[in-house]
Amino acid sequence: MANNNAPLLEMKNIQKSFYGNQVLNDINITLNEGDVLGLCGENGAGKTTLMKILFGMEEIAETGGYGGEICFNGEKVDFKSPFDALNAGIGMVHQEFSLIPGFTATENILLNREPLKRNVISEVFGDRLNTLNYNEMTGRAENAIEKMGFKIDPKMVIADMPVGHKQFTEIARELSKENLRLLILDEPTAVLTESEADALLQSIKSMSERGVAVIFVTHRLEEIMTVCNKVVVMRDGLVVMDTRAEDTDVKKITKAMVGRDVESVDNKSVGTDETAETIMSIKNLWVDMPGETVRNVSLDVKKGEILGIGGLAGQGKLGVPNGIMGLYEAGGTVVFKGNEIPLNSPRKCLDSNIAFVSEDRRGVGLLLDETLEWNIAFPAMQIQNKFLKKLFGGLIKWRDEKAIKEVTDKYIDELQIKCTSSKQKAKELSGGNQQKICLAKSFALEPEFLFASEPTRGIDVGAKSLVLEALRKLNKEKGVTVVVISSELEELRGVCDRIAIVSGGEVAGILPASKSSEEFGQLMVSKVI
């Protein structure tokens, strides 16, 4: 064993950039044996990327590797793949389950590490024909479960297990690896009930007593206080707090997590005049969108305002626009300008002049193999019969190529879209320009009401300010009511009049944009399920 007075894990000045924007700069973390480190921070603060670097995920190497040094057990290491990390003794439980549904808990815990018995045939045809040693497997699985502390039935098939048990099965799987020294848990309690969460905290404590260090990534600050002995808070790729748990409390952590040094946010918004009539009112909306489930949202949007919807990832804010626009199964009532819009049908919303800029640019927002002209003109053509020549008295609606080219060129210079020509294929453009195409697509519909979901995610800073400016212009000059959904609180405070925070699939509260970011931070973590 390496000299055991050296810390178990040292990450020295870690740097990482994705396509030009700096995601992690100069991260320093040290961890000793048996430590439980609580890692928290807003979405996009870089904590998931940091864990991916530690776990040696291929994604990191594919996007240009990372700067800085990692020492594990005193030796310098550079993990090329998760298997190197596993062999070195690092286990990771991801947010989405990686379990085989049809297998029992035992089979999952020992997947690809099953104890085998030799037999005649395997002598000739190779070890893969050794038969599984079932009772040894049950034995090993049982003591892994017992090591983990929460009782689950090893014989039960994963598919019939309650959600919480699946999480414990994964943890038991990592624990069943003898050489496990460090376990990374990525928001494990998001799917657990109260009692299951307490049991998890209990098992983390018993693990740390046995010398297994744990990095616990979560939004639930009380859990950090109860179980962690060290706390690290990250924001915008920087470590903003690194103290022992005793010296801090929930309030300080939230401030560090959310509070910027409040520079002057030029919020030109004049605030919403309460007297304006409600243009859209949403009552008990539920939306079944995987990863962004909306449970029970009721919200009123005033005419002519820019309403922001914020909140942490996975709390349901993206579900609201997708549900209303009918892209995901939804229920509840939505009244727009007095008449109720039936849900689950995009056509009805588009007919009543509501447009939607989707957060999934490549998947939903664009026709990657078609020209920019088609991308911009298509919705307007289909719904409002624009850019169509009527032939034989309207019997045949023929594409009016000239009008399409005109409107495309208009938006290309209005939004300064960098492209070779209007005939270029959408997939050849950069992220920022693709986002501008999606905006142009909605503008061409000349909507009265616009949902803009994560309009500035993953695009360069220049394009960001231009996109926000275009939204502000649309609202001011054309009086279009705009709802911006974004996980970057600062951006919302910069452009919106009021901001509603969605947490745990419900509206936690609505505050004017001028309120301090701590108050928003409180709302964000208030109802985190």
Binding site: F103, N130, W286, T293, E329, G331
Partner: protein, 365 residues
């Protein structure tokens, strides 16, 4: 009540077949012993072939329409062995041994191709079977004789090269069936063949317990999770395909030894299609099949197969209708099974919405 409907929905195809058979058999007027005898011979003839379909289903590659490749390997081996004038059980043993290298080669090719067409395995294996049929004909019609020495005129085409349309199996007909056969009340029970089939079933059960079998089951259910656990997904799928092709090769040799002669250029494609239809009639689905499905399927499917022509003639007075009805039933069965598999796959996604709605009004109360 709910799970009865569930049971009915899951096994709609076997139930439908039981009903059709129970109607057709009395109409056909065949005697009981005749029926049992016929079904027994077909059971022993086809069971091994259908069993070879189980492994690819377990490995998540769906119905292996490429099993005709294994059948071709079996046929090539049979032709070579009968040219060397080897008769009786030694001929069958030799044919099986010689079909192995050919099956492995074809299995590797098929496995590699299927890995390149993930999520479209069945259509690709279907096209591979035609593509390989072309190459098989090239080999049998033009390469046999000049390149691979064929001595006996009874096998060669009159023009001197290429293999005849039908190859006679007279000197090793039913050599395995008759080996330990005994007849009980007029029904011939080919014990040795049944033993071989039982041995194959044991192999499959044993295989599921091996590490390779476990890996295949894991890959079949979720490729990504299996890959993240360190299982070499591509290699496992190829091995599944190779084993299935080798088994289909053996199955074809067993199938052919039961007949007096076989048609070199068409019997492998028939065999593939009818084996899959029989398996589906037994209640198997595209992602789950058990040994029970195989035997139930063979009995039900072939009962109808025997009875259809006579019933057709009795009802419509035209024997051709019975033939077409037989072919229609096989295709219809495969269509229904494929459709139900696709619909079931899409169903799991849609009932999450109901839960949310219930959760909401639970909150209101």
């Amino acid at each position: 009540m709910k799970n009865i409907i569930e049971f009915l929905k899951k096994n709609i195809v076997p139930i439908m077949f039981i009903i059709i058979c129970s109607i057709c058999v009395p109409i056909s007027g065949f005697s009981v012993t005749y029926m049992i005898n016929e079904v027994m011979t077909r059971l022993t003839r086809n069971a091994f072939l259908i069993l070879s379909l189980l492994i690819p289903i377990m490995a998540g590659m769906g119905l292996n329409f490429g099993m005709t490749l294994g059948a071709m390997a079996g046929e090539i081996a049979i032709v070579l062995v009968s040219d060397w004038q080897i008769w009786g059980i030694p001929a069958i043993v030799l044919a099986c041994i010689f079909s192995i290298p050919i099956s492995i080669l074809l299995g590797l090719f098929c496995g590699k191709m299927l890995n390149m067409a993930k999520s479209r395995e069945m259509v690709t294996s279907y096209i591979i079977s035609f593509f390989m049929n072309g190459i098989y004909m090239l080999l049998m019609l033009y390469a046999m004789g000049p390149i691979i020495p064929i001595k006996h005129t009874s096998i060669k085409l009159p023009r001197g090269y290429g293999i005849r349309n039908t190859v006679s199996m007279l000197n090793n007909r039913q050599c395995i069936d008759n080996a330990l056969a005994f007849s009980v009340g007029g029904v011939k029970i080919p014990v040795l063949t049944l033993l071989i089939i039982a041995a194959m079933c044991l192999f499959i059960i044993w295989f599921r317990k091996t590490k390779l079998g476990q890996d295949m089951r894991a890959v079949g259910q979720d490729m990504e999770v299996a890959r993240s656990a360190g299982i070499d997904v591509e290699k496992t799928r190829i091995i599944a395909m190779v084993i299935s092709t080798v088994m289909a090769g053996f199955g074809m040799v067993l199938y052919v030894q039961n007949l007096s002669s076989f048609s070199t250029y068409s019997s492998h494609s028939n065999v593939g299609m009818f084996a899959i239809a029989a398996l589906l009639v037994g209640g198997a689905s595209v992602d789950k099949a058990s040994i029970g499905n195989v035997f139930l399927g063979v009995i039900l499917f072939h009962t109808l197969f025997i009875v259809a022509p006579t019933v057709g003639t009795k009802i419509t007075g035209d024997s051709m209708v019975g033939e077409y009805f037989r072919v229609f039933i096989s295709y219809a069965v495969i269509t229904i099974a494929l459709i139900m598999y696709e619909i079931k796959k899409r169903q799991q996604k849609s009932n999450a919405g109901k839960l949310l709605a219930e959760a909401q009004n639970k909150e209101e109360q």
